[in-house]
């Protein structure tokens, strides 16, 4: 039971980053390879605010989210948008360049040392039904859950959420009704950056903060997104949770897998899903237009 909760906690971290990937893929049709690095950068900013400038955790959290949002919008407007007209590959290379750039930037500003970052949640455990469950795990799940709910409300019940959905499924038509499609896409990037930041800040306390914090996490996020269906936000969340619990249980109870093979396990998931049902659990088949 404890492992399930722990699995759900890591799963929600994967889910958050996977959701970011899905958001961007739905909006602009590309995989943002730099998503992980952007999240790491956000986490460093949060760390810097709390450690170097003595801020309290939650204000720093909030400010980091705002900065990440602005950063995401800025990156889309400045770097991605001019390249959108070209081939997909061009944008992929740009995101790869961004990955390299941000990684280097982090090392330049903060050096490559491993640092410890505090967790907003106490590290005690709590007894529920006779099982000791970490409060941190519960807190992690809670934060991600809250974020997902807020996003869902945004997309389903607000005018701007509707506009964003319209821009993603049918940009040409959206323009005809007056939606500023390009800004909607930038908003998507901004939100994705926020999700990534949340993911990073939740992961950092246990994984320690170093420039490569998100590299492995990015792969888990890919696996979760593919499992859930790369265009399905619901799928990303569900996929992340399943992956988190699944990998955790496998790692604990199946000896031969152990802790090392979690990453290849995730990769195996990606491959198997892509081979068997590329559209994942919740995606739908692409209809090829002639």
């Amino acid at each position: 039971m404890q492992q399930v909760v722990a699995g759900l906690a890591s799963g929600s971290i994967y889910a958050s980053l996977a959701l970011a990937l899905v958001l961007i893929h739905r909006a602009t049709g590309v995989i943002n390879f730099a998503q992980g690095e952007m999240a790491t950068l956000s986490t460093y900013i949060a760390w810097s605010l709390t450690t170097n400038h003595g801020w309290n955790y939650w204000p720093a959290f909030a400010v980091t989210l705002v900065l990440s949002f602005v950063g995401g919008v800025g990156i889309h407007q400045g770097i991605i948008r001019p390249n959108e007209k070209g081939s997909v590959l061009r944008v992929v290379i740009v995101t790869i360049g961004l990955l390299i750039l941000i990684n280097g930037l982090i090392v330049m500003i903060w050096s490559g040392e491993v640092r410890a970052i505090q967790s907003p949640f106490p590290t005690r455990t709590v007894e529920i039904g006779g099982v000791a469950i970490s409060i941190q795990d519960i807190g992690t799940i809670g934060v991600v859950l809250a974020t997902v709910v807020v996003l869902w409300l945004l997309f389903q019940y607000t005018k701007i959420g509707l506009a964003m959905r319209a821009a993603a499924v049918n940009p040409a038509e959206a323009r005809l009704v007056g939606v500023r499609v390009t800004w909607m896409l930038s908003l998507g990037w901004g939100l994705a950056a926020v999700l990534g930041a949340i993911s990073g800040m939740l992961a950092a306390p246990s994984l320690f903060l170093d420039p490569n914090l998100m590299a492995a996490l990015l792969i888990y996020a890919f696996a979760a997104a593919v499992l859930g269906g790369i265009d399905s936000p619901v799928g990303a969340v569900v996929g992340g949770l399943i992956l988190g619990v699944g990998l955790n249980l496998l790692g604990t109870y199946v000896d031969f897998v152990g802790a090392d093979l979690r990453l290849p396990g995730a990769l195996l998931v990606i491959l198997v899903v892509l081979l068997v049902k590329p559209s994942g659990l919740f995606g739908h088949r692409e209809v090829k237009r002639v």
Partner: protein, 328 residues
């Protein structure tokens, strides 16, 4: 440009390249020559990747893994079976080609980014897989080729065409001979009906199909050929570094190869030299700008992004634009 000169222009350019390659070592330091040998190796790899991505539009972020297969094939044959290094190269090509072809079959079901993800997953997991099969691959410790008698010119200079070549020179000429050879083969392969079919597949699969082009055949063929090229490159890489271990072919390599193809210009053979040079020298140039920690990456990243703005169609695009200017 008259029709005749248009036909001869590529030939002339090729010959010019061959001449430059031939005389370069006399003009540069031994260290530089070695770097250019690596350029040749990357060139072989990206010619192959170009056939896959530039021509049939199948994105692969996993060609480093194919290089690994080629490299390990060579290493194992040399270290465990006493095969001379040159003879391992065609074997590596064959093995990797078959693997690539077999991978091309399930890959038919994947398009665009899904394929990119799948190949990315393979590239990431390759080092772990190599470590897992320790008995075969020497695990984390790798396989050492240095000093083996099967490694040509490693101990004593080898005689080629009446000249004595030390290891570095021998390596340089070996790599470039194969690279130029590979160029010619690719050019012939892509020039005729096959090339036309491949390009049709890239531009519109549905249209190609309705014109009678057998998609599965050409797409898997492209995978196989492309992998074979990568296998040869991996093989040469192993010979050049005289050592292989799981980290010799990391994910970064796969990414760099794709970057090289895009920078060179997809779907064209012309710019690939520039792409190969880019792969080899980008890290070096970035370091030259600044050595402080993290700075080279920042520079590399900036250059990469800037290139996509300035040369969206790669170097080949630049060449095409220049050509159209001279036509007027």
């Amino acid at each position: 440009m008259s029709a005749a000169s248009r036909r001869f222009a590529p030939l002339a350019a090729f010959l010019a390249l061959a001449v430059v390659v031939l005389v370069l070592p006399s003009f540069v330091s031994a260290f530089r020559a070695q770097q250019f040998a690596y350029v040749a190796i990357y060139l072989v790899a990206i010619i192959g990747l170009n056939i896959l991505t530039g021509y049939t539009g199948q994105i692969s972020l996993g060609h480093g893994a194919f290089m690994a297969i080629g490299g390990y094939t060579t290493a194992i044959l040399m270290a465990d079976h006493g095969v001379k290094d040159i003879w391992t190269i065609p074997v590596a090509a064959l093995v990797t080609g078959v693997v690539g072809f077999l991978f091309g079959i399930p890959a038919l079901r994947l398009s665009g980014l899904y394929l990119a993800l799948a190949t990315f997953a393979i590239a990431v997991s390759m080092p772990a897989v190599i470590k897992r099969f320790e008995g075969f691959t020497g695990g984390g410790g790798g396989i050492n080729l240095f000093g083996l008698p099967e490694l040509t010119a490693s101990l004593t200079p080898v005689e080629v065409l009446g000249q004595d070549l030390v290891f570095n020179d021998w390596l340089y000429y070996l790599c470039w001979t194969i690279a130029l050879f590979g160029y010619v083969i690719a050019w012939l392969f892509l020039g005729g009906r096959t090339g036309l079919a491949l390009r049709a597949v890239r531009d519109s699969e549905t249209a190609a199909q309705s014109s009678g082009v057998s998609l599965p055949r050409y797409k898997t063929l492209a995978f196989g050929v492309s992998a074979a090229y990568a296998g040869v490159a991996g093989s040469l890489f192993a010979i050049a570094t005289t050592f292989v271990n799981p980290d010799t072919f990391p994910v970064a390599l796969s990414i760099l190869l794709l970057v090289g193809v895009v920078v060179g210009g997809l779907g064209s053979l012309v710019g690939l030299i520039a792409g190969a040079i880019f792969i080899q020298f980008l890290p070096i140039w970035s370091q030259e700008v600044s050595k402080s920690p993290g700075a080279p990456s920042v520079v590399s990243g900036l250059i990469l992004i800037a290139l996509m703005f300035v040369l969206p169609m790669g170097v080949a695009g630049l060449v095409a634009r220049l050509k159209s200017l001279t036509k007027r």
